[in-house]
């Protein structure tokens, strides 16, 4: 067993660089997320938000740098991590029921040559209750709406009872009611002591939903508690001229008060 490295952080990333072909997508990322926060990763299109999560999870191989989760290399901490990919990343016409999909969250834990048993089923039912989908357990996933697909995916992550949750754009393309439900759900997870990391696209809701913020544009622009990071200067640095709306956002002014 290797010695723990930076175990005080839920997620610790150092010198991480990812490049596709010759083009760097993420450059020299140093990132620390303390346990028990609900963190947003924001940045313009192409900033590498999804790639950052994938690199942390080992789905994308970085050219340099290392990642620790609760002080451990990711491969030794898989049981403590759950991941909700973008909804569009799978074919929803796959022959499976909602219950099947939630059970898939446990496949890594169940172990080789074994089938999900009664315990797994009751955990899946509980996860579905948490997202309010218990009545849809037997429904084919091809018949779900976008918001229901998202909730089924979140249930698949919740069933793992992981300490660190990564979600890639969970609020994209869902209606306002579902978005509110998802936020409440994630805050409950945070209040239970878990760490939630969300790739988020809506700057208007950042300070309402999250308490920790990472601003990214290939490099880390800023990271820390939302009230310290969500400033006009940082937004300009991350989004540059792309964001005509910066003036209209309720950012934190330099003296620390909400403008």
């Amino acid at each position: 067993m290797s010695a723990l490295h930076e175990p005080q952080f839920a997620c610790h990333v150092e010198d991480l660089t990812v490049s596709y072909r010759e083009r760097p997508v993420l450059w020299d990322i140093d990132l620390d997320i303390p346990p028990g926060v609900m963190a947003a990763i924001v940045g313009p299109n192409g900033a590498g938000k999804s790639t950052l999560i994938k690199a942390v999870l080992g789905l994308v191989t970085p050219v340099a740098g290392h990642v620790r989760v609760f002080g451990l290399p990711v491969d030794q901490a898989r049981r403590r991590i759950a991941y909700v990919p973008q909804r569009q990343s799978v074919d929803w016409d796959f022959p499976a029921t909602v219950r099947d999909v939630v059970l898939m969250g446990l496949y890594g834990q169940i172990g080789w040559l074994r089938r999900p048993g009664r315990d797994a089923l009751s955990r899946a039912t509980r996860a579905l209750e948490q997202v309010g989908m218990q009545d849809y357990a037997g429904r084919p996933i091809s018949q779900l709406s976008g918001g229901q697909q998202q909730r089924a995916f979140i249930a698949r992550a919740l069933v793992q009872e992981a300490d660190l949750l990564f979600l890639d754009e969970p609020m994209a393309g869902v209606d306002a009611v579902t978005e509110a439900a998802i936020v409440t759900l994630l805050k409950t997870q945070r209040d239970a002591g878990r760490t939630v990391v969300v790739v988020h696209h809506d700057l208007q809701t950042v300070s309402k939903y999250f308490d920790w913020l990472v601003m990214l544009n290939q490099r880390i622009i800023a990271q820390g508690p939302v009230k310290d990071v969500y400033t006009e200067a940082n937004l300009r640095a991350a989004y540059g001229g792309q964001l005509a709306l910066i003036g209209a956002l309720e950012t934190t002014s330099p003296d620390g008060e909400n403008a």
Binding site: A82, P85, S89, P95, A96, T97, D100, M104, Y107, G108
Partner: protein, 367 residues
């Protein structure tokens, strides 16, 4: 009529059909049908090579040769994609043609050797070429492949649905994908003598596509796909054995395609027919509701519950000839015709009945 040869053929074809149905399900769900086609075409140089090296049409030599050239083709595809940046479909298409061309050239060379006449059956398949002695090794290999699928069932299910989630959970995804591809290749190679390199892939794809129409879960899909594979395989082998000299592959594929066409057309819920009926019903009910809403809106605009709406106005408002719908609504007692109010008004005027207004508001309440 059921002579021993025919029984052998039917048993072999059923075995291949079942196996192809099972592995084909995963192939189709992973969106890799074209890869199956490449493996089967690329097997030809291996089949001929195996013959040339071993000097006979032995089961093991043919199987080994086909697997080696199939693996080589897979490797070339990877090199083209990763190394040279060729798009996946272009890489697959190129490699398919390349290996098949090589196989055909090798085949013409091999024809000069004694005992090579039977090799051409591998192009389109020939049921009669399956010997009774081949049945047992075939069954053993099939049992091995099916056991692997059963043992790694949940892992295969997860990588077929969501590869990244499998990776994030720590499953060895690349290894599992390789195993699944090798199992698929074994299945293809096993079926070559019956279905032929050109058409074998249809035996993988068609039953899976047909099965998808009827089921909700992966287990059911795999099972039904195997059943359809057996029906197509056994039926095709039987029919081709009746007609002397008819290649088996095409008949099996025609059977499979026929079952697939039936499924696409007739399956409840997902079938073309069911969808068409649903659309027709939706259109009718929508039209009916639109007309009721239009009548209701016009009477409200005029603040007259008994206001009669001119039929031409309704036509113009709905942008279509409302007559069939109006006739239907009248038959159902939801609207009634009024007497013309002015002598120049030729068109009928319509108003909602109490039943019509109730129907309309009941539907609104549901939404």
């Amino acid at each position: 009529m059921l002579n021993p040869t025919l029984i052998t053929v039917i048993m072999a074809a059923s075995l291949i059909g079942a196996l192809a149905g099972v592995l084909g399900t995963f192939l189709v769900l992973r969106g890799q049908s074209l890869l199956g086609d490449v493996i089967s075409h690329a097997a030809l140089p291996g089949v001929v090579g195996g013959f040339l090296v071993s000097g006979g049409r032995g089961f093991a030599a043919i199987l080994g040769g086909a697997l080696i050239s199939g693996a080589l083709a897979g490797l070339v595809v990877q090199v083209l994609r990763r190394g040279a940046g060729v798009k996946p479909d272009a890489a697959l298409g190129t490699v398919l043609s390349l290996f098949f061309a090589g196989g055909v050239v090798l085949l013409s060379v091999a024809q000069l050797q004694p005992g090579a006449a039977g090799l051409t059956v591998f192009l389109f398949g020939q049921a009669a070429s399956v010997l009774r002695a081949d049945l047992l090794p075939m069954a053993i290999v099939a049992l091995f492949v099916l056991s692997c699928v059963a043992l790694f069932w949940k892992e295969f299910q997860l990588i077929a649905f969501d590869r990244e989630a499998a990776q994030a959970q720590g499953l060895p995804v690349v290894l599992l994908e390789t195993v699944l591809t090798v199992l698929t290749a074994i299945t293809i190679v096993l079926g070559l003598a019956l279905a032929g390199v050109v058409l074998m892939v249809a035996m993988l794809i068609a039953p899976a596509v047909a099965a998808r129409q009827w089921v909700r879960g992966l287990g059911a899909m795999v099972f039904l796909s195997a059943v359809i594979g057996i029906a197509a395989g056994a039926g095709g082998a039987f029919l081709s054995a009746l007609g002397q000299g008819v290649a088996t592959g095409p008949v099996m594929v025609l059977m499979a395609s026929f079952l697939t066409a039936l499924s696409l057309l007739l399956a409840p819920d997902r079938g073309v027919l069911a969808r068409w009926v649903r659309q027709q019903n939706a259109r009718k009910s929508l039209h009916g509701r639109q007309v009721l809403e239009a009548l209701d809106g016009l009477s409200r605009d005029h603040q007259d519950p008994a206001y009669g709406s001119d039929q031409a106005m309704l036509d113009a408002y709905l942008g279509a000839d409302a007559r069939p719908v109006l006739a239907r609504l009248q038959r159902d007692g939801l609207i009634r015709a009024q007497a013309p109010v002015a002598p120049e008004g030729k068109a009928t005027r319509w108003e909602l009945t109490d039943a019509g207004s109730q129907t309309l508001h009941a539907q609104e309440g549901q939404r």
